[in-house]
């Protein structure tokens, strides 16, 4: 099987495309949304310009893609496949806050290992070829000995310390990668890392109050983002709702409480969904979306929200935010998908990113 490279302008991202895989499929799988509708070459919604390289038009309808357009290099992304390496100019939003940082390979030495909870391990890596340039919220891919492929983990520290990469890793039941980290990883071990990846980042240019909703180890990216914002002196209100099951699952509390004491604009709300009724817990109880609704009085308009955690939590939070008048333009998400979550539910074209 030969694969080709697809470069997506104006993003500058380059992705691998399999033999026979359409441009649309490759882009969607790489997290680049292209407008599309019929999916089989009839409607023309996914029309895209090829600026370099050879493609096969596939079953693009003569009415959806005119001859003069073909001559001008237009293709239907849903039917076009690559014959060589290709560059497209896609109709994607310009994002003034996203920097273009080239992905690099690093070697990191494990210099810290800490049990944050009974099933979350804190891993601190010191980079040998450092520092890594990244935006808070981005992730790295880690190659683990004896584990096929690589595993993605969000960077939990602020970009100001590019010589270290701090990760918070929950043990996935029967997971090979996280199993290795929890059982075998040792101080001094050297691991291959590449990064930074991802477009989950704070749209600082928008200003205004920020709301971070995190579930479990989904707090890694928000932690990096909040540390970064507070270091820079971001003055607008920042709220973090961090949901876990019970007190035994909560970590980072002392640090976030200290930050909240030091910064009047930062509010930290830990939320427990399964804490026993009779316990000494004085804080919020319930799922992240319910707690967020309560602390915000149900109204979210004017905020920008960043959601990070398991898909059901994200879904519940999106609905709560929308019913509180905060819509797609102001909601950013990073979904954690484990291999079994990948069977996606059918999507309607109502939302682009959510």
């Amino acid at each position: 099987m030969s694969a080709h490279q697809l470069t997506i302008e104006p993003l500058g991202d380059t992705i691998e495309v399999e033999e026979g895989q359409t441009i649309l499929d490759a882009c969607l799988r790489a997290g680049v949304y292209l407008p599309h509708a019929c999916g089989h070459g009839l409607c023309g919604t996914c029309k895209t310009q090829v600026t370099d390289g050879e493609i096969d038009h596939g079953a693009a309808s003569n009415f959806a893609l005119m001859d003069f357009e073909r001559e001008d290099g237009f293709v239907l992304a849903c039917t076009a496949t690559l014959v060589s390496d290709v560059t497209i100019e896609a109709d994607v939003e310009d994002d003034p806050d996203a920097r273009r940082i080239n992905v690099r390979d690093f070697v990191g030495t494990v210099v810290g290992l800490e049990d944050l909870t009974h099933d979350v391990k804190g891993v601190l890596l010191a980079l040998e070829d450092g520092p890594i340039d990244f935006q808070a919220g981005q992730y790295v891919n880690l190659v683990l000995p004896g584990v096929e492929g690589s595993r993605a983990f969000s960077i939990a520290n602020a970009p100001s310390d590019g010589l270290h990469v701090e990760l918070q890793i929950r043990r996935v039941p029967d997971g090979a990668g996280t199993g290795y980290i929890h059982e075998k990883l040792k101080l001094g071990e050297r691991l291959a890392i590449s990064g930074p990846y991802g477009r989950f980042l704070v749209r600082k240019s928008r200003g205004g109050p920020l709301l971070f909703l995190a579930g479990g180890t989904g707090v890694s990216s928000p932690r990096a983002m909040i540390l970064d914002l507070l270091e820079e002196g971001y003055a607008e209100p920042i709220t973090l709702v961090h949901g876990v099951r019970a007190q035994a699952d909560l970590y980072g509390r002392d640090e976030f409480e200290a930050l909240a004491r030091a910064h009047a604009n930062f509010r930290y709300v830990p939320a427990l969904s399964q804490e026993p009724e009779a316990s000494d817990w004085q804080g919020e109880r319930g799922f992240v979306h319910d707690v967020a609704k309560r602390v915000h009085g149900g109204m979210f308009a004017g905020n920008t929200a960043y959601l990070c955690g398991p898909p059901p939590m994200i879904e519940a939070c999106i609905a709560t935010l929308m019913q509180g008048r905060l819509f797609e333009k102001h909601i950013f998400t990073e979904r954690f998908l484990t291999a079994k979550d990948c069977a996606e539910k059918p999507k309607s074209p109502v939302f682009k990113r959510l």
Partner: protein, 504 residues
């Protein structure tokens, strides 16, 4: 230093700047008098994101090439006598239904979008509505041209606009669009832009075009491709409209939900004609109505309404009733047309054994139990020379205008009747869905032009069937009645006898 290249979106914004200027000779509220009375609140028209970013210049270029391609196919079709190569002479009846029942709706859509485009004060929706208006005009014209080839040989096509305005069953689609066009601009956008062009379009357009493909009608298939390349824009507009209204103000949610409920039900009733076409009129079947409903509404609509639930929009009221009725409506509609074949502008027939078996297979829960025995009884009566005609004029539903032949949800042996009192009169409905629509706006639907009432009031050419057919411009003995014995059948058989002779 060279300037940074503009993105597609910025380039478009630059080209279209200032289209939404504030008027000074007259206040804006006078220039746009209709965009407030419906209760829809818009805080910021500029929040509308034009998803198409198509300039008029580009629009003409695209449409011109589509036309060139389509007309080349139509010419080739005519030169090769394509009309003789379709699957069977019966197939032409689906085109009769399409041309009299659907094509005039394209024209209504053209006028509706032109009006709506004029009366919304945001530039984005105005431009989108204007382009859709032009598309719809193109669609009706190309449909007429495509089908005109068949009009040279077959009955029932020549008086389509006249029939659309007068014939009893054509008042079903006609009143649907009249209702939408008599509403305010926002309701029109939800009714036609969202409910019709997005939620239900796959159940209208796709069955006709796939039906054409399966039955060898390449000219109609080509027309379908030509139109489908516009439909994506229409579908996107429908989605954009509902998102925009829901995001603009929380007070819009209950209004939009009411319209979604209403237009889903109105659309579902109109689609009964398509259901009948799919299950009974296509000589070569594409899929059953029930299968189409499962794919396009239950699955496709399911993911749509799952996403819209985030805004608080619920699945349309009575969607469950419509899904249950997918087992019945095609049969119940065909029964109506069979009984009233003398007043139908296309031909009818009883399904043959192979066709009955197909229906039994596709409708294992209902067909053998409720419908097959009736068809076999009617077929037997035909054989004995006692073909059944219903000579009584049917009672019509005040809202959907369909004869009251549908059954109670969950009870396919009892006809469903509903009624309501308004200003001392009793109004009748086929369903809770239609009754709810009336009860919400009784002043509007009390004025409905109901074909049967009009006949009784003496407004339709006279009291007898021939009088009314004459007023419909329905050519008695050619346009109406069963396919067996029709001039269409005779012509078709002659062509094929000749072809068989030529083949030796």
């Amino acid at each position: 230093m060279t300037a940074k290249k503009l993105g597609l979106k910025q380039r478009y914004a630059h080209m279209t700047r200032g289209l939404d200027w504030e008027t000074t000779y007259q206040p804006m509220d006078k220039v746009f008098p209709y965009d407030q009375f419906e209760g829809i609140k818009i805080k910021d028209w500029s929040a509308w994101e034009d998803p198409f970013r198509l300039t008029m210049d580009a629009y003409w270029k695209f449409q011109a090439e589509k036309e060139r391609k389509l007309y080349a196919v139509l010419d080739a079709f005519a030169q090769n006598n394509g009309q003789a190569s379709v699957s069977d002479g019966r197939y032409i009846n689906t085109l009769k239904l399409f041309l009299t029942g659907v094509s005039p709706l394209e024209y209504q859509a053209h006028r509706g979008f032109a009006f709506t485009g004029r009366h919304l004060r945001g530039a984005g929706p105005r431009v989108a509505a204007q382009m859709q208006s032009l598309d719809e005009l193109r669609h009706v014209q190309t449909q007429i041209h495509t089908i005109s080839q068949y009009n040279k040989y077959f009955d029932g096509l020549s008086e389509f606009p006249h029939m659309h305005d007068r014939v009893w069953y054509l008042s079903v689609p006609k009143s649907f669009f009249d209702d939408a066009r008599a509403a305010g601009p926002f309701e029109f956008m939800i009714a036609i832009g969202f409910a019709f062009e997005y939620v239900l379009t796959n159940l209208l357009f796709v069955p006709f075009m796939s039906g054409a493909a399966y039955n060898g009608d390449m000219s109609t298939v080509t027309f379908g491709f030509s139109a489908q390349s516009d439909e994506s824009r229409h579908m996107t507009l429908g989605i954009e409209v509902i998102k925009f209204l829901l995001e603009q103000h929380p007070d819009n949610l209950p209004i939009v939900q009411k319209w979604v409920d209403k237009w889903f039900w109105r659309g579902f009733r109109v689609l009964g004609l398509v259901a009948m076409m799919m299950d009974y009129m296509l000589p070569k079947k594409v899929m059953s109505w029930k299968e189409a409903w499962e794919i396009y509404f239950t699955e496709g609509g399911g993911s749509l309404f799952q996403d819209l639930a985030r805004y608080g929009i619920k699945v349309p009221k009575y969607a469950d009733v419509a899904t249950e009725a997918a087992e019945h409506i095609s049969h119940q509609n065909w029964a109506v047309f069979y009984q009233y074949t003398h007043a139908a502008g296309f031909h009818t027939w009883m399904p043959d054994r192979e066709h009955l078996d197909w229906l039994s297979e596709k409708y294992p829960n209902t067909f053998d139990k409720y419908y097959r025995p009736r068809w076999e009884m009617w077929a037997q009566a035909e054989k004995e020379g006692k073909r059944f005609y219903n000579m009584a004029l049917p009672q019509l539903c005040q809202v959907c205008q369909i004869p009251m032949a549908y059954t109670e949800p969950g009870d396919p042996t009892t006809i469903c009747f509903r009624e309501t009192q308004f200003k001392g009169e009793t109004y009748h409905f086929c369903s809770d869905g239609c009754k709810d629509i009336f009860d919400d706006e009784p002043e509007k639907y009390a004025q409905s032009w109901l074909p049967v009432h009009q006949i009784f009031q003496g407004n339709c050419g006279g009291p007898t069937v021939p009088d009314v057919l004459n007023w419909y411009r329905m050519n008695n003995g050619a346009d109406n009645m069963d396919y067996a014995g029709s001039p269409d059948e005779k012509l078709w058989n002659e062509w094929h006898a000749k072809a068989a002779e030529a083949a030796g």
